[in-house]
């Protein structure tokens, strides 16, 4: 409610479509709001919650995996996570929002993205576990009294699985940010007066086609930057580099 009030109070119809100036570095939008500030608000209000959701999904998956571990993973659980992981998250979120009607749209987006991220992380960990648990040094660790959980954390999560998990995390972040912006553009995610990179692009797209592309290009540049950021971070981390020969 406070967020909406703030967004409404920034509206100044007299200052609509002002060109870039010292006061407004990227100019103003169709309701006279500072465009740079609005892009910043979109990143804070829309992109950061998406990042937090994906991170939360991965943490929940790791926690459930470790809690479950000494037992065998049941086939329905493996099938369900693999099926959810294989579904196109964007189309799934779009379908859920269309069928759910007009309420709590952003919450639904976050819910779908969170479930998709959790399923992806869980499926990845199950696959890694099934692949590695019969390795010689894993079995030796177990024979010397190491528990399955400790084995998974020490030999898997913090060593052999970390690079691929990081890659999967970055991929989930990228796709989730793209899905959020896409749904915002389609009018199914975050709605005006709240800001999303998608709804900023949508609001100025017609004007861009008529020869004033600055607001659209600024929002597009922000979307490009925010969606490639996980990839840049991943490449600078040590887990990215290929393993040395044995």
């Amino acid at each position: 409610m406070t967020m909406n009030s703030d967004a409404i109070s920034q509206i100044d119809l007299g200052g609509a479509y002002l060109p870039p100036s010292a006061a407004h570095w990227l100019g103003t939008d169709y309701l006279g709001r500072d465009l740079l500030g609005r892009i910043g608000t979109a990143i804070v209000d829309a992109s950061l919650p998406v990042m937090a959701t994906v991170t939360g999904g991965f943490l929940i998956a790791a926690l459930v995996f470790l809690l479950w571990l000494p037992r065998q993973f049941p086939v329905p659980m493996i099938t369900a996570t693999a099926t959810i992981r294989s579904l196109p998250a964007g189309l799934l979120a779009f379908a859920v929002l269309v069928l759910a009607g007009g309420h709590h749209r952003f919450e639904f987006v976050l819910l779908v993205l969170g479930i998709a991220a959790t399923a992806a992380a869980f499926d990845h960990m199950i696959n890694c576990w099934e692949r590695d648990r019969h390795l010689g040094y894993w079995e030796a660790h177990h024979a010397m009294g190491g528990s399955a959980r400790r084995c998974a954390v020490r030999l898997g999560m913090t060593q052999g699985w970390s690079a691929s998990a990081l890659q999967l995390f970055c991929l989930s972040l990228q796709t989730s940010l793209a899905v959020e912006a896409t749904l915002g553009y389609l009018g199914l995610g975050i709605q005006e007066p709240r800001a999303s990179l998608g709804n900023i692009i949508a609001a100025h797209y017609d004007r861009a086609l008529k020869g004033y592309p600055i607001p659209t290009l600024a929002a597009v540049a922000a979307l490009l930057l925010i969606s490639t950021l996980p990839q840049i971070i991943a490449k600078t981390m040590p887990g990215w580099r290929p393993l040395p020969p044995a």
Binding site: S86, L87, P88, A89, G90, L91, F94, A95, V98, L99, A100, G101, S164, Q167, L168, C170, L171, Q174, T175, L177, A178, V179, A181, T182, Y185, L186, G187, L188, G198, I201, Y205, A208, L209, P213, T216, L217, V220, L223, L224, S227, T228, P230, Q231, A234, K235, P242, L243, P244, P245, A246
Partner: protein
């Protein structure tokens, strides 16, 4: 929430949308195939250089990396502005009453190409081609055949091409279908994604659900086709190696 009867009774479902979507997907398949064929010619040259692919501890071909995904929402507007500003080419879909079929076929190229880049398919095909060549070149049977002066590239190319094609299609298909709605919407291409969005805007939830269901069915069928092709290819490869 919507009831099932609402979906089955929906009358305004647009079947022509399926044709437009099929056209875009067909172009996408052509681009993927072309990139794979190009990869066979260019990547096998690069494979003579020692690749980091071969330094993997378990000896398997490298599969994963974070693919370069540029959201179609960012890519498509830039492409439309650039085409208009530089060459006065209008990439928006022609939706007139008597639009020529050839014009529609040509108009589907731009959305398909951006989908090809936006879904990471291009990057995936290139990355897989490089790693597959490097992996198979390191196999002893290839060294033996090379020692006998046989044309290894000619024998490997169809096998590697098929593997790359199936693997990249399997990896990127979810992203393709995720990006399909936005690509059709930005390019005004009246496909299933576009119509489901239009129906959703007019609160015709039954028709929207029907369009989305058809998209999911198409996704499932393509996935099944890839699965069975992979299964058969796996048997052939085992025999070959």
């Amino acid at each position: 929430m919507i009831e099932l009867t609402e979906i089955f009774n929906a009358e305004s479902f647009n079947f022509d949308g399926g044709l437009t979507t099929a056209l875009i997907l067909a172009w996408l398949a052509i681009f993927t195939l072309s990139a794979t064929v190009a990869g066979m010619f260019f990547c096998n040259q690069a494979s003579s250089i020692k690749s980091t692919a071969l330094t993997k501890r378990d000896g398997s071909a490298p599969r994963s990396n974070v693919p370069i995904i540029v959201p179609s929402l960012a890519l498509a507007p830039i492409a439309i502005f650039a085409a208009w500003a530089t060459a006065r080419v209008n990439l928006i879909f022609p939706v007139f009453e008597f639009t020529d079929t050839a014009e529609i076929v040509v108009a589907a190229i731009a959305p398909a190409f951006l989908l090809f880049i936006g879904s990471g398919l291009l990057w995936r095909v290139v990355a897989l081609s490089r790693s597959e060549w490097a992996y198979w070149y390191s196999k002893p049977f290839v060294r033996v055949e090379q020692a006998f002066g046989k044309n290894v590239q000619r024998r490997l190319a169809p096998m590697i091409g098929t593997r790359v094609l199936l693997q990249s299609a399997s990896d990127c298909l979810p992203l393709v279908f995720s990006e399909l709605v936005i690509i059709e919407s930005i390019f005004n291409a009246p496909g299933l994604g576009f119509w489901s969005w239009e129906y959703a805007k007019t609160r015709d939830i039954g028709s929207a659900a029907k369009s989305i269901a058809v998209l999911f069915i198409a996704y499932g069928l393509i996935n099944l086709a890839i699965y069975f092709a992979n299964k058969n290819l796996g048997k052939k490869l085992t025999g070959y190696v």
